[in-house]
Structures are given as C-alpha cells and as structure tokens.
Subunit: 249 residues, 2 copies
C-alpha cells in the first residue's frame, strides 16, 4: 500500500491529548528547523516556548481566548529578533543600520519560513499544530507577557501538542487559481465561480451562513470573521508596535 | 544505515543542471503546498512561475543580477494576493475591508508559509532552491514585468532547478540562541561570544573579512552586504509599493 502523501493530507489540530512533548524533542525540532533558509544567514528570529499555565493564561486574552492556547502542550511565539545580531555588531565595532521597515520585512519573512519549518518537522513527528493569527493583533500584550525587549516583535504563534483525535485536510482553491504561468493572469467572474464552487457547496458553508444570519459565505468573512473595523484597529496597534521597536516612524 | 536527516542536512542551491522540472511535477508541488496552514482558509497568495528567458532577463536587474535568476529552471515569485478574494466578495454582495496594513501582514505571513512549503516539497523531490531576498527591494519593477494588478504585491522568490553539484549545510546559531524558555531571555556579552565563535572561526569568514578590507565579520554585514543606506532606500520603495496597493497610506 502506498504511504499517504503527508503534505496533501495534513490538517490543523486544535485539540490535544495529555501526551507530553519532551524538551529534548522540542530542542531537536528547533535545531533542525534552524537549517531552513534565511537572509544572509543572519537568523533574525527567536522563538519563545511557553509551557507555564500562568503565563499562558495571561497570553490567552491577546489571542481572543482561543482554547488551544490553554490546552496545547507548548505554545511557541515566533518573533522577529534583530536585537541579538545588533548586539554582536556592537561588540565587533560594526554599526548596524537595521532600524527600518525593509529590515523588519526581511526578518518577518525569515521568521515565517522558520516557523513553517518547525510546523512541518513537528507534524512529521506526529505532533499537531495550530497557528494563531491573533499574534499580530495584540502584539503589545504578548510583548509584555513574554518580556520581549526592543527590536524583538511577535509575528506568529504555533500551539503544539499530540492530537486528541484524527482530522482530515480541508478544502483548498484549485491549483490554477494560485499558480500563474509566466506572468499574472487576472481572474474573470467565471473563474471566481469555478474557484469557489466546491467551498460554497460544502454543508459547513451553509451552516456558517445560517448561524451568522447572512446571505453568502463571503459576507460571513467580511461582516463577522475578518471585518474592516477590526483590521483597521489592529493595523494601528501593530504599526505602533513596529514604531516602538524602531522599524517604522 | 540510518537515513540522513533531511532537515538538518538541507542546503541552498544556486547552480542548476539542465534537467527540467516538468509542469506536472510543478503543479503537484504547488497543489501539495496549498495545504500548508493559512489565515481563515482565505489563501491570500499567488505564485507566478516564470520560465521565459526573456522575462527573466527583465527581472534579473531587480534581483541585482544574481546568476540563479537566469540559470535556474523555473523562477517562482510569491505574492501577497488579496485581489482574488476581494473579487469573490464583490460577486457575493460582501464588502471587503482588506485595504490596510494588518491584512497585508496576515497575507504576508501566509505567503511565506506557503513558499516554505513549496521549498520543502521541492527539496524532497531532489530539486534545489534559492530564495531571493531582493524581491522586496525593487518590487515595483517585478510588479511591472509580471503584470501584477492592484492588491497583488511580490514578497519573495524561489529559484528552482536540479542541483549541478552536491552541497553541504551551512553554519547556524546554537539552538539556545534562538530558543527561549517561558519568556525571552536577553543575551549578555558572553552569550554573544559563544553564539558566534564557530562562525567567526570558519576559514570563509576570514576570507570575507580580507576580501572586503574590514576588521570584523560583522563589519562585512553592516558596511558591505546589508548597509543602512540600502535598507533605508529600499524601505521607502517597498512602502511606496504597499501604498500603491492600498495597504498603507
């Protein structure tokens, strides 16, 4: 029997068993993930592994009390970290010029690449994971709780733990929706109809629409899940966080 | 004999053989990578696969003429793409509110996670890759050549091809430099000495210092490779690109 393709069949895990991820295994995963590509091998990132229930209870509101914050085995907060590199520069009579947006963006890309490598390696060890996009919403609270110093900014969070139950992969767009040949090919209305047909036909989509009293699934996104008001509010908060760390003015 | 750990032993490949990556394999890689986690399953990304030598010759200057742009088999430009989702919203009587910084950041995180999944899957097929951090430098030129419409912004590039030769993994920081327990632990001078000792002792580090006429390796970074002037200049350029696409003011 052919082995199931891991990448096609992976899924997000929000409910975890009591089984513990050892510190040795966690260290091994991070050590391996460090070999993911990064800009100029400067490794402008850090990861804070939080197991303490007390600290996680303080982080939970920043993550809108998503249950996986408390019920995971370990919570990993991935941060842009240019501080360590700057410290090295200062000790070596070099003048770093990384207090700007471009440096933040480079560090952010590397932080996400590193985080995804951790996610993949963990999953290949049978560990389930869930990203928390809320990390860039209330970044200042997370910074405070995790005692992040200047030039260290939270970007994303992974909750890790052994899965409480099996899951299955979720819907994705057809490949031709995201893969463009040679140059970008803009979509026409008929393309959009085809791209979203399968998603809109799912029973859970009808359920989401009904539960939220909306007419279309798209409205559940724009009016309930990812609203303009929230996006604009949290834009300001994250911009303040970047300014506080010297990455923007 | 135990199989070599893929993650610990991976390396960046900048020189490629003539062997071709088939369109079928490329599609398979992208299809699998789409199952990487993403925010709200909105898939706010696109990837443009450019094989045309003519188009790549136009992209090359934006990437500082790094040779892998021309000698790779296929060049993948990963873009934040909120356009497709907004199009769906408009067709479904929903009012998207994603013309802001927070939405860009969410899309950027997802784009990088997706790119890294492509990198890993390609490498597991024996394909070599190299990220081009220059993508966020001259993003406007890349946008023009690839005909990216509004709300589609280039974030990173992967050059793909079968390796011309074997390579070996490069130095990384000790795991305790990047992994923090419970909260962030700031580094003292002695930590920095230990973290960078192995790198500074490498023969190629001495070579870099000599070639560039500097006193320390850190100065090669700050004065030659990643200078303040360049970072500040390209900050402005990328901010203009985000403003042009409605993500910042």
């Amino acid at each position: 029997m052919a082995e199931k393709n891991y990448f096609l069949n992976r899924y997000t895990v929000r409910n975890y068993s009591d089984k513990h991820i050892s510190d040795d295994l966690l260290q091994q995963i991070i050590t391996e993930a460090e070999h993911a590509p990064n800009t100029g091998n400067m490794q402008w990132y850090s990861v804070v592994a939080t197991r303490s229930k007390e600290l996680r209870a303080k982080l939970a509101p920043a993550h809108f009390n998503q249950p996986s914050v408390m019920n995971c085995d370990v919570l990993l907060t991935f941060c842009v970290d240019i501080r360590r590199f700057e410290h090295w520069c200062h000790l070596r009579k070099a003048k770093p010029g990384y207090d700007n947006f471009q440096s933040f963006i480079a560090a952010m890309i590397d932080t996400c690449i590193f985080a995804q490598q951790v996610c993949t390696i963990a999953e290949m060890h049978g560990i389930g994971s869930c990203y928390l996009g809320t990390t860039t919403y209330n970044a200042h609270t997370i910074s405070e709780v995790l005692e992040l110093p200047e030039r260290v900014v939270p970007v994303t969070t992974l909750t890790l733990g052994y899965p409480a139950a099996e899951g299955k992969p979720s819907w994705r767009l057809p490949v031709d929706a995201v893969l463009h040949s040679e140059t970008y090919h803009d979509t026409c209305d008929a393309d959009i109809e085809r791209y979203y047909a399968e998603l809109e036909a799912l029973p859970e989509s009808a359920k989401f629409i009904a539960e939220n009293g909306k007419d279309t699934l798209a409205q559940v996104f724009t009016d309930v899940r990812y609203t303009r008001d929230a996006a604009e509010y949290f834009s300001t908060i994250y911009e303040e966080e970047l300014a506080r760390n010297g990455f923007i003015e």
